[in-house]
């Protein structure tokens, strides 16, 4: 049997609305993944360090405040610096279509907008993580 997929669910920025992050974290855990939830107000540095230490295959960023254009590219740059681009980054939250396209060009694997189904997110992660 394959070892479970490891996912870091993170809440960057100042926003404290963690309903989505918690629901996703629980859904991924119920789907058999190992989930580490960082808690609130994480800087990109803290998130990438946690991803390194926890040896995760996926980072899920939950951002509802509109600060995604400032935060997500910094996470991507740090992953590149640390040679961790094999870690898939997915973003969930209030991200307009044009911003979502721009984030994908920066290397984000997927952006899930409001109303996305839990099953779709689980399936995406299962499909995108290459098992060693």
């Amino acid at each position: 049997m394959n070892p479970p997929i490891r996912v870091l669910v993170a809440k960057p920025g100042l926003d404290g609305h963690d309903r989505g992050a918690k629901v996703i974290a629980r859904a991924l855990r119920d789907a058999g993944m190992e989930v580490i939830y960082t808690g609130l107000r994480q800087t990109p540095e803290m998130i990438v360090n946690a991803a390194l230490q926890e040896d995760v295959q996926v980072i899920g960023l939950s951002i509802l405040s509109g600060a995604h254009n400032a935060i997500v590219p910094r996470v991507m740059d740090l992953l590149r610096e640390k040679d961790m681009l094999d870690v898939k980054v997915i973003v969930g939250g209030i991200v307009p279509d044009a911003d979502a396209a721009a984030l994908k060009r920066r290397g984000v694997a997927a952006v899930f907008q409001p109303g996305a189904s839990l099953d779709a997110i689980v399936e995406f992660i299962r499909g995108s993580v290459v098992r060693v």
């Binding site: 100042l14 926003d15 974290a25 939830y37 509109g66 409001p114």
Partner: protein, 528 residues
């Protein structure tokens, strides 16, 4: 009866089972006292909206104080009857616009206010003696309130004349919205300082709006929203009593804020039960005598979390139904969400439709003609009683834990809400609960025009702040901040010291840093 109909479970959006029919057998006693009579289940006023319609108060704020001020003038011209300030995240967290953690967040979720100068701009040309203003600010509420009172002074408006509401409900921040700075106990001391200061100096200002809105948005059930909010209210009363105040000195100015969600009858029952429970708690638990202490007054806002990204025009309909529930439930003021809520802060067009929704309810529908028009409905009366009972169970559990702060430290309300939100999401996933346009009746969305907040707001605020720091009397700033730090270390009321610092143009971040040094910062243990 059709077998499929007989077996299907009907539940409210909170998961409460609903009987096939309600009749007199479910109600031992239908004769609830008239509106205006204890325990006010049917409303706090004898005539309700015949005396005066609810206040139509759209929560708004974005980008710079200059831009928000323009929006306020627009809303007042459109017939809005009160203002409600939305602050951006750095302001809510007590950081100035030029703080590192504010990067990318300035003006995004509300207006950016770092100093008295920004507050002066925010209310330029708005007479604070005439317009009532509500401010959605919590952890640094005392500081923003001091700025507001200082602007009133400048306008020549006495504090006895200013009227409005400070949200200032820190307990629900630990429970739900998570915009806290300091640990619970020093935070409660600051809240108590404002309640005490308000009782002495601002008789027409509500120093707190005890809020269920955010608890519900975080995914709670209707009963959890009701129970945690009222139990929070009792906690504030206990702290003020411990401070040495008499209950009737401050209780008349306590106000509440509830969500108006989609399950129509459940919401109406929630408001009715809230009034009844609060009246009994104030009379029997705290010995209040003044009738005004017993009457629960509340603002309501339609449920942002119910609005969808998909088919956004449907949100106008959802909001209208929710607003109708709030009005039939006897709300004192109302915010209706805009159709673009799931995308961004509202465009001018979207906010105008939201305001017009209230005006149509108030002036065309006839629903405001008589108080509590659903009183006596078997269903609504039964739901009201059930809601009251279920909230009472939560009160007992929280009392047994040693009160709300102990419950929060145990993670109790937080995990109750997280469980409820997960159960609901699973029900949506399984299509046991349908959301039109999301898991049923999907179609291609039409794009909508959105309000854009560009990076220039941040640059503008940062520049203005640099100029202020260079221009002001920095000796006076550090003197007032030192005095504030000493007051925070002691037990006196901090409000006069905050006012001195604000008048010297000490910034929000500097004042909150002084408190951070004395009180420390709070971090929660995250549970999933």
């Amino acid at each position: 009866m059709d077998m499929a109909v007989a077996e299907k479970q009907y539940t409210t959006i909170s998961g409460v089972p609903i009987e096939p029919l309600y009749g007199p057998e479910q109600l031992p006693d239908l004769a609830a006292p008239a509106p205006g009579e204890f325990p006010y289940t049917r409303g706090i006023h004898e005539t309700m909206y015949r005396g005066r319609l609810w206040t139509m108060r759209q929560f708004s704020g974005f980008a710079t104080p200059e831009e928000t001020n323009r929006r306020y003038h627009y809303l007042l011209q459109q017939g809005q009857t009160g203002l409600s300030v939305a602050f951006d995240l750095p302001t809510l967290m007590g950081y100035d616009a030029d703080h590192g953690l504010a990067e990318g967040e300035v003006g995004k979720c509300g207006a950016s206010i770092s100093s008295l100068e920004d507050m002066e701009i925010l209310f330029r040309g708005i007479p604070l003696g005439e317009v009532t203003v509500s401010m959605t600010i919590n952890s640094p509420a005392a500081v923003l309130w001091a700025m507001y009172l200082a602007v009133a002074e400048q306008q020549g408006v006495g504090w006895k004349a200013v009227s409005g509401t400070l949200q200032n409900d820190i307990l629900k921040e630990y429970i739900a919205q998570k915009e806290y700075i300091f640990p619970p106990r020093p935070s409660m001391r600051l809240v108590t300082d404002t309640i005490e200061f308000g009782a002495r100096h601002t008789p027409r200002f509500n120093p707190i709006s005890i809020s269920g809105y955010h608890i519900r948005e975080a995914g709670s059930t209707a009963v959890q929203e009701l129970a945690f909010t009222l139990r929070d209210g009792m906690e504030y009363v206990e702290w003020a009593l411990e401070r040495g105040m008499q209950v009737d000195e401050f209780a008349p100015r306590l106000s509440f804020f509830f969500n108006a969600h989609s399950d129509f009858f459940e919401e109406i029952a929630k408001y009715r039960a809230a009034r009844k429970l609060w009246a009994y708690a104030m009379r029997d638990r705290f010995g209040a005598k003044d009738e005004r202490s017993l009457k629960l007054r509340f603002h309501s806002q339609t449920a942002g979390c119910s609005l969808t990204w998909q088919q956004p025009y449907n949100n106008v309909v959802r909001t209208a139904i929710q607003a109708l529930a709030a009005v039939l439930g006897g709300t004192q003021s109302l915010h209706t969400n805009s159709l673009d809520e799931a995308y961004a802060l509202p465009s001018e067009q979207a906010v105008t439709i939201a305001l017009r929704t209230q005006q149509i309810l108030g002036y065309e529908s006839g629903v405001a003609n008589t108080p509590d028009p659903l009183g006596g409905s078997y269903f609504v009366e039964r739901l009201t009683l059930d809601m009251e009972q279920a909230a009472g169970d939560y009160f007992r559990r929280i009392d047994e834990m040693g009160g709300m702060i102990a419950a929060i430290e145990n993670g109790f309300p937080q995990s109750e809400i997280a469980n409820a939100s997960y159960v609901y999401q699973r029900a949506v996933e399984a299509k046991e609960k349908l959301v039109v346009g999301v898991n049923a009746f999907q179609s291609q969305d039409q794009p909508i025009e959105l309000l854009q907040i560009d990076q220039t707001a941040e640059e503008h605020q940062v520049k203005k702040l640099a100029a202020l720091r260079a221009r002001r009397d920095n000796g006076r700033v550090s003197k007032t901040l030192d005095a504030l730090r000493r007051a925070a270390e002691g037990t006196e009321n901090t409000m006069p010291f905050i006012l001195d610092a604000v008048r010297a143009y000490a910034t929000l971040g500097e004042i909150c840093d002084a408190f951070r040094e004395v009180f420390g910062s709070y971090r929660e243990t995250a549970h999933i």
